[in-house]
């Protein structure tokens, strides 16, 4: 009898996923100024990143845009840390050479993905809200991605300072963490390929080529 019920599940998934997609393009968003009285370094970083990305999208296309995005990712995101957490326990098993290749391939894949997402930028704005600092020193910056049609999307940014200034280590869109999702994705792939990291690196490298 519950044949129409699926709507809810799908919906949720949809919301989550949709969120993810939009959110992704959310990075793109302009930081609207009056938002946060709180000018913590973490909040400033998010504002700056959003502004940079928007600028980039307006000014450049194609390969130039991808290169620009890559640069923003490298300066504002702690890609090594993200890569390490995405690999999870497999990081310890990888050789130094594998780690290096993995981080390089993962960064290319991310840059490519973000460039593609930002290509769909439709003038959304990002309003930065509260910043909470956790016991481990990570700051969580709340923000809302305001869309022209539909509900705003909640995006949380995790920011850490490892001595080189604050950098983004995770993006959560409506509760869905990019790093966590990536980790499940990678972990499952590794398990289905004999528990080895090598096939994953090969796959990521192959994908980075185009």
């Amino acid at each position: 009898m519950p044949s129409f019920a699926p709507r809810r599940t799908i919906l949720r998934l949809a919301v989550g996923a949709g969120t993810m997609a939009v959110a992704v393009s959310g990075l793109v968003t302009a930081a609207s100024g009056q938002a946060s009285a709180d000018q913590s370094p973490a909040a400033q970083l998010i504002q700056k990143t959003a502004a940079e990305v928007i600028e980039l999208i307006k000014a450049k296309t194609g390969a130039a845009r991808e290169a620009g995005i890559r640069q923003v990712l490298e300066t504002d995101f702690d890609l090594d840390y993200m890569g390490r957490s995405a690999l999870g326990t497999h990081w310890n098993k990888a050789t130094p050479e594998q780690r290096e290749r993995f981080l390089k391939a993962a960064a290319s894949a991310e840059a490519h993905a973000y460039a593609e997402r930002f290509g769909q930028y439709g003038g959304q704005t990002l309003t930065v809200g509260r910043v909470t600092t956790r016991a481990n020193g990570t700051s969580v910056v709340d923000s809302k991605l305001n869309q022209s049609n539909g509900e705003p999307i909640a995006i949380q940014w995790e920011v850490r300072n490892e001595g080189q200034g604050p950098r983004i280590v995770d993006v959560k869109i409506e509760g869905v963490s990019m790093v966590m999702t990536r980790r499940s994705d990678f972990n499952s792939y590794i398990q289905n390929h004999g528990g080895k990291v090598e096939p994953l690196i090969d796959e990521l490298e192959a994908r980075a080529k185009h």
Partner: protein, 267 residues
């Protein structure tokens, strides 16, 4: 669903303005504890997933693309609003079971306003009255009371033609379907044939509407993952956990205060 129903809804309208304030999504600052989702049925699940994917590629996605590109936007919005509006009573029931009277009031007020002024739900007039749309379902109700980490929804299961779910949410789906007032009314007034027509139409419409709205996100997830099944499993679990966390925090007065502070900042 006679007079009592209407009276409740009238009362709801009064509360709803207050309730609307409390609605903006909360901000869980916890670490998502879930490392890996419990998936003892992974082999059959992956099999069903591949069938779902095939059905999607052959039938659902192409229709959704046509719908997205050829159906006028206002019509798409109207369809979406109708589907959402039909879900409000079940949302309100779950709000009540979770002890959130304000939220229930808002959902019922939305239903009342949109079903009348909003022409059978075609227009979401309630939102412009400040009655914010919220989301609730029996899966969340179970998670609310379960007393375990919300990432733990029992075993993960891929449902045919429905998609990702878990023990908790699948039970929730059946529960929601069985308390749906429209389903009950149609079944008791017009019998089972009418019920299946109603259920089928509603399901079909929902699928296309939802597929259209999730197209970008799902395409993105699929393209940027090396194991789409695993990525989707993780994203689904996290998303559901987040919704349940928000419901739990709503009953926590300190979290509520923080949320208002946050709201004041945002505005």
């Amino acid at each position: 669903m006679g007079k009592g129903f209407a009276r409740t809804m009238a009362a709801c309208v009064r509360y709803s303005a207050v309730a609307a304030v409390a609605l903006l999504a909360g901000c869980a600052t916890h670490d998502t504890g879930a490392t890996e989702v419990w998936d003892p049925l992974e082999v059959p699940n992956r099999f069903i997933f591949s069938i779902n994917q095939a059905v999607d590629v052959i039938a659902i996605r192409p229709v959704a693309v046509l719908y997205r590109d050829w159906m006028p936007k206002p019509a798409q919005r109207g369809v979406h609003n109708v589907v959402e509006n039909l879900g409000e009573p079940v949302t309100a029931i779950n709000d009540v079971v979770q002890g959130n009277a304000h939220q229930a009031a808002t959902s019922m007020a939305r239903f009342l306003v949109n079903s009348t002024i909003g022409v059978a739900g075609l227009f979401d007039v309630a939102s412009s009255f400040g009655l914010k749309k919220s989301d609730n379902d029996a899966g969340q109700t179970i998670g609310y009371y379960a007393g375990v980490e919300p990432e733990n929804g029992g075993f993960y299961i891929m449902l045919p033609l429905i998609g990702p779910s878990n023990a908790r949410d699948a039970v929730g789906l059946v529960a929601d379907a069985s308390i749906d007032p429209f389903g009950i009314a149609i079944y008791s007034l017009s019998g089972s044939t009418a019920y299946w027509i109603y259920a089928g139409t509603r399901y079909g419409t929902t699928v296309i509407d939802t597929r259209t709205r999730t197209m970008t996100a799902l395409d993105d997830l699929e393209r940027n993952s090396v194991d789409y099944y695993a990525a989707l499993r993780s994203a689904y679990t996290q998303r559901r956990a987040e919704l349940i966390r928000q419901k739990r925090e709503k009953t926590d007065s300190r979290a509520e205060l923080e949320r208002r502070d946050n709201l004041a900042l945002v505005r």
